[in-house]
Symmetry: none
């Protein structure tokens, strides 16, 4: 039973990876189920034993990758209390994942958006959980008097995510990665948001430190 389950998990994983690679290369609409099946080394019909349909396959990639993203984020924030540092680590982790899982990132960035179901009907709960981590950092910073109270965490969270996402997209789209490094982008985005969130009072000591 355990073996059977494990075999099932493996096969599912095998198909998912094939789909990630195929979607990244040719796009969701440009990829045929047959392509995925061929890459996974299974028959066309086998895909449907593991996924309801093509869109389910795409959504499943999102779920899997978001789980990894969330787990990684949690791990890297463990024991870190300083909101500034938490923001820096969030940015660094996010773009680090993009760099280390380029194909997956490409699918998430580019291909996932074209799924109407995903964008309009499907509630991406895991994305919300992910972004809420940032919103909570802002709230914590505000509670500590470190961040301004006139920035709504909800708006800040989307703005922050938008910045990271767009930079990831540009990095993914430009095959010429020399344009900028994801590490530098992470540093600058974190920096801008940290300073942008600071209260005037909290700004000063930092300025002094910086001097």
């Amino acid at each position: 039973m355990t073996e059977a389950r494990s075999a099932r998990v493996d096969r599912r994983h095998q198909i998912t990876e094939a789909a990630v690679s195929a979607f990244a290369e040719r796009g969701y609409h440009g990829t045929r189920i047959r392509d995925v099946a061929a890459r996974a080394g299974v028959a066309d019909g086998t895909i449907y034993l593991y996924f309801r349909n093509k869109e389910d396959l795409l959504l499943s990639i999102f779920e899997t990758k978001m789980d990894q993203l969330l787990a990684g984020l949690a791990a890297i924030l463990v024991g870190v209390d300083d909101p500034d540092e938490r923001i820096r680590r969030f940015a660094s982790h996010h773009l680090g994942m993009v760099r280390d899982h380029r194909e997956a990132a490409e699918v998430l960035q580019v291909e996932l958006r074209l799924s109407n179901k995903f964008l309009k009907r499907y509630r991406p709960e895991k994305l919300w959980a992910y972004l809420n981590v940032f919103a909570q950092i802002v709230r914590d910073g505000q509670a500590a008097g470190l961040y301004r109270r006139d920035i709504e965490p909800f708006i800040g969270m989307w703005a922050f995510f938008g910045s990271l996402d767009e930079l990831a997209m540009q990095w993914v789209l430009s095959r010429r990665t020399e344009r900028f490094t994801l590490e530098e982008a992470a540093r600058q985005v974190a920096d801008v948001f940290i300073r942008g969130l600071r209260t005037d009072a909290s700004a000063r000591p930092i300025l002094v430190e910086a001097m």
Copy 2:
């Protein structure tokens, strides 16, 4: 001749608007040429007298709307020299356009991204021109000693655009606009970026003023 030209322009416009509305409602892939034709009140074949194919229709919407966006931005920045104010106006104008042209924004935000040609092959020169306005503001601010030199305008430009774009997307996707207003979002994004870009030196006087 003028009449003929004008008739041609009108008909083209008529089809474009029908496409904007159809794409916004049902998505690019979910929209059939027949749907667009019906909304425009013309025969299917007529579409092809004005556009090479379906994708050309989509791309043409982008071109037209970007022209409007660029023109509006230029108009609103005329005579404004202060980089901070220029950033505020940029954000306000961008999200104002989203609010006033919701359907078009929806198409640009959501549907355009699904066009592989657009994202990977087509170089959206007008988008670059648009974003370069922001990059130039940063450069001007840096030259004036107002903004920090360790923020690369190129990175900042994508980060800023990403923030606006993501907030626009969330506003467009959530039919419940009560979540947040675009005006408030514009104000907060501009604020975060302005403060985030400031040099420590330039930050102080502002802080004083703020007090």
Copy 3:
């Protein structure tokens, strides 16, 4: 009125020639009415003032060219009584026309055959009139005791025409005309049929002469 009629004839001729050239170049199905109109320097709709439809245009080419072919054949046979010589002139004239009106020949040879209406429903009376000239030569030769009576003129006529037609087709299809000359082909086909038609009695004197 005469002027009007003449103008009408000219315009019709102009369109016909444009069609011949277009059909020869791109084939009947590969040619759009628009192509013909453009070559003729008229508007698309104008074609329909002179021809019922596209097929009518094709058939009209056939009629016109067959008239020329028939007239030319009649002219070249005037005063020639010897059946052998008449056969030689027939072959020579037919392939000569192909050589001198390559485009028209190409249309007749290749494109006309693809019109179901032409082949199956339309009775090509003019083709029959043309071929009957050959059948009559055979009958005359038989009456004169020159040609064998066991060759049916009807069968001979199609066989003869088939030979000429096929050679014309090969010449037209092979842009490399060096393979063989139409003159030589005409001579050989005439020769084979003349000898093939001769009675044994009539064959002998010739043989002697030939010696």
Copy 4:
């Protein structure tokens, strides 16, 4: 494996036969893939599992039938050395096939010619192989001093084929087969060409025999 292969061959054959019958009845352009599919008792898409496209289906009919034609010709000529007799058998076999495979002949005769690809781009190697059999008979006859050397085998081959082809076409087009029999046509064409090819010297003995 053998079963699978055989099933594949059968299905392909089934579709081919349906296409032959459909093309013969309504013509290539007049036949929709749906018609072929319906006659074959398969779904539209199934056609495309066996043939690249509609034209491939037409070309494939040609290939298949030419294979049969060539094989039949070879069989009927085995052990026959006399050029005259070989010509008679060629004509008899060719028109016999037309008679026994009327639909296929109709497609080959009429419909195949309308395929530009076939006529202009595709080199019908099998047709050449078929006709070369006749050219070789002529060459052998010439080498044996039986046939005149001033008839080029290349020209003779097309002339001979043209005669057979045209008679086949007329027989196929005229639903009234009473006009002439293919057997009689074969006899007469062979006769005309044999006599037409003979040298004067070789003509005499035959004449005596004939007496």
